[in-house]
C-alpha cells in the first residue's frame, strides 16, 4: 500500500505531510446535524462558554459536501442509520467521524432495543469515540483534539487513491 | 510598419469577433437550451469587448449591464420555469432545417456581397479618433433624440405591464 518504506522519511514527503496535516487538523468543519440529546451538548460546545471556534471548528456546514467532520450526536435508530451513512458517503475526502455519546458508541441505555443501532461502527468508520451520556462539551472538545492528534500521524504516502 | 499596440488592439478585435461568432453558432447548435443560454452570454460579453475596441466604451458597459446582467438572466429564469423543455427533441424536420439554413445563407451571401462590392465613401475608410462617448450620448438622448427616448421608456412600461399580465397565474 502506498510508497515503499525507504521513501517514507523523505524530506519532501514529511514536510508536505506536516503542512497538510496541520491544515486539516486546524480546520475541521463539522456537518450541521444532530440526532438527539447529545446534539444539545454539541451546540453548547459552540457557545461562548466552551467555544469550539478556538480550534477553527465552528464552521458548521449545512451541506456534507463541504464538511470534513461528522459528529454523530445522539441515538441512531435503525431507520436513521441509512441517512447517516448517506451523509457520510456524500462527504468529500478526507473525512472524519466522531461518535459522540453512549448511544452512538454502543446503543447506550437503548442497547438491545428493537429500534436502536448498537453502535455506529457497524456502518461508518469511526475515528474518535467520545463516551458520556451525554458527554459534556469539554469532552467533545477533547474528542476533537484527539482527532487532531490522529490527523497529525497521517501521511500522504498512505493514501490509496 | 504597424505599431505593435495597435496590432494588439486589432488582434483583440478579431479574437473577440471570432469568440462572438463561435458563441452564436453555439446558441444555434447546442442541444440543451441551458447551454444555448450560456453560449449567448459568451457572445454578448465578447461583443461588449468589441464595442469597447470600436470606441463605444459606454455602449460596451451598457451591453453588459442590460444584455448580460438583465436579459440573459431573464432567459435563464424562463428556462428554469419551463423545466420540461430539456427533453424536447430539437431536430425539427429536415425540410424546415434546410429551408432555414438556406434562407440564412442567402441573407449572408447577399449582405456580404453588398458590403464587399459597395463603393464606400473615402471618408469612411479611416476610423474617427476616440472621443468621450458618455457625454455625447447623454446630450443626444435629451436633445435630438428626446422623442425616441420617451417612446422607448413608454415601450418599456407597456412591455413590463404586458409581461406581468400575461405571465401571472389566474387567481
Amino acid at each position: 500500500m502506498g510508497l515503499p518504506m525507504e521513501l517514507r522519511q523523505n524530506v519532501l514527503i514529511t514536510s508536505v505531510d506536516k503542512l497538510v496535516n496541520w491544515a486539516r487538523g486546524a480546520s475541521l468543519w463539522p456537518v450541521a446535524f444532530g440526532l438527539a440529546c447529545c446534539a444539545i451538548e454539541m451546540m453548547a460546545a459552540g457557545t461562548s462558554r466552551f467555544d469550539l471556534s478556538r480550534f477553527g471548528a465552528e464552521v458548521f456546514r449545512p451541506s456534507p459536501r463541504q464538511a470534513d467532520l461528522m459528529i454523530v450526536a445522539g441515538t441512531v435508530t435503525t431507520k436513521m442509520a441509512p441517512a447517516v451513512r448517506r451523509i457520510y458517503d456524500q462527504m468529500a475526502e478526507p473525512k472524519y467521524v466522531i461518535a459522540m455519546g453512549a448511544c452512538t458508541i454502543a446503543g447506550g441505555p437503548f442497547q438491545g432495543s428493537y429500534s436502536t443501532v448498537p453502535g455506529i461502527d457497524n456502518f461508518v468508520p469511526v475515528d474518535v469515540h467520545v463516551p458520556g451520556c451525554p458527554p459534556r462539551p469539554d469532552a467533545l472538545l477533547w474528542g476533537i483534539m484527539k482527532l487532531q492528534e490522529k490527523i497529525r500521524t497521517q501521511s500522504i504516502a498512505d493514501q490509496r487513491r | 510598419m504597424i505599431a505593435p499596440t495597435e496590432a494588439l488592439v486589432a488582434g483583440s478585435f478579431y479574437t473577440f469577433a471570432a469568440i462572438a461568432l463561435a458563441g452564436a453558432i453555439g446558441v444555434v447548435l447546442a442541444r440543451k437550451v441551458f447551454h444555448s443560454a450560456l453560449f449567448l452570454v459568451l457572445t454578448l460579453a465578447s461583443l461588449a469587448a468589441t464595442f469597447v475596441i470600436l470606441g463605444a466604451d459606454f455602449l460596451g458597459a451598457v451591453q453588459i449591464v442590460i444584455y448580460v446582467g438583465a436579459i440573459t438572466v431573464l432567459i435563464l429564469f424562463g428556462i428554469m420555469l419551463t423545466p420540461r423543455n430539456v427533453e424536447l427533441p430539437e431536430s425539427s424536420g429536415v425540410g424546415r432545417s434546410t429551408a432555414g439554413v438556406f434562407v440564412a445563407a442567402a441573407v449572408f451571401i447577399v449582405s456580404t456581397t453588398v458590403i464587399v462590392t459597395s463603393q464606400w465613401p473615402r471618408s469612411m475608410s479611416t476610423p474617427i479618433p476616440d472621443r468621450p462617448t458618455t457625454e455625447a450620448i447623454g446630450q443626444g438622448l435629451f436633445t435630438t433624440y428626446a422623442l425616441p427616448f420617451e417612446m422607448a421608456s413608454i415601450l418599456l412600461l407597456i412591455a413590463m405591464i404586458g409581461a406581468i399580465v400575461i405571465a401571472r397565474e389566474e387567481q
Binding site: - | I2, E6, A7, A10, F13, Y14, L21, A24, V27, V28, V33, S36, A37, L40, T43, F51, L54, A56, V62, Y67, I71, L74, I75, G78, L81, T82, R84, N85, L88, S92, R96, S97, G100, V103, A104, A105, V107, S111, T112, I115, V116, T117, S118, W120, S123, M124, S125, T133, G140, T144, Y145, P148, A152, L155, L156, A159, G162, A163, I166, E169
Partner: protein
C-alpha cells in the same frame, strides 16, 4: 468597380459590417430551424446584436457630429429588453397551458 477588402489591420468598416452580417445570419438560421421557443428568442437576440454591431461600426467610421449609431444601439437594447420580457411571459403562459415550449404546439390559429 468593387472595392477591395483592406488587410486585417487596421480594423476596417467592412470587417465590422461582416461581423454584424454573420451574426444576423446565424440568428436567422437559429430562429428558423429550432423548435424551442426560448432558443428562438435567444436567436432573435443574436440577430439584434448583429444589428447593433453594424450600428456601432458605422458610428465608428461615419463622420457625423453626434453619435447617432451608438444612440440607436441603445434604443435597440431597450426594444430587445422589452421583447425578451414579453416573449418569455408568452412562453411561460404557453407552457402553463400546453406543458411544452415547442413552437409546433402553438399552431391552433392555423385552423
Amino acid at each position: 468597380m468593387p472595392q477591395e477588402l483592406p488587410p486585417l489591420y487596421p480594423i476596417s468598416l467592412q470587417h465590422g459590417l461582416l461581423l454584424g452580417a454573420a451574426l444576423f445570419s446565424i440568428g436567422i438560421a437559429g430562429a428558423l430551424t429550432r423548435r424551442n421557443a426560448i432558443t428562438i428568442l435567444m436567436s432573435i437576440e443574436v440577430m439584434l446584436n448583429g444589428t447593433i454591431v453594424t450600428f456601432v461600426t458605422f458610428a465608428r467610421y461615419a463622420p457625423t457630429a453626434d453619435l447617432a449609431g451608438q444612440i440607436f444601439s441603445i434604443f435597440i437594447m431597450t426594444v430587445a429588453a422589452a421583447e425578451a420580457a414579453v416573449g418569455l411571459a408568452i412562453v411561460i403562459a404557453v407552457y402553463r397551458l400546453r406543458h411544452t415550449v415547442s413552437v409546433d404546439a402553438v399552431d391552433t390559429l392555423q385552423g
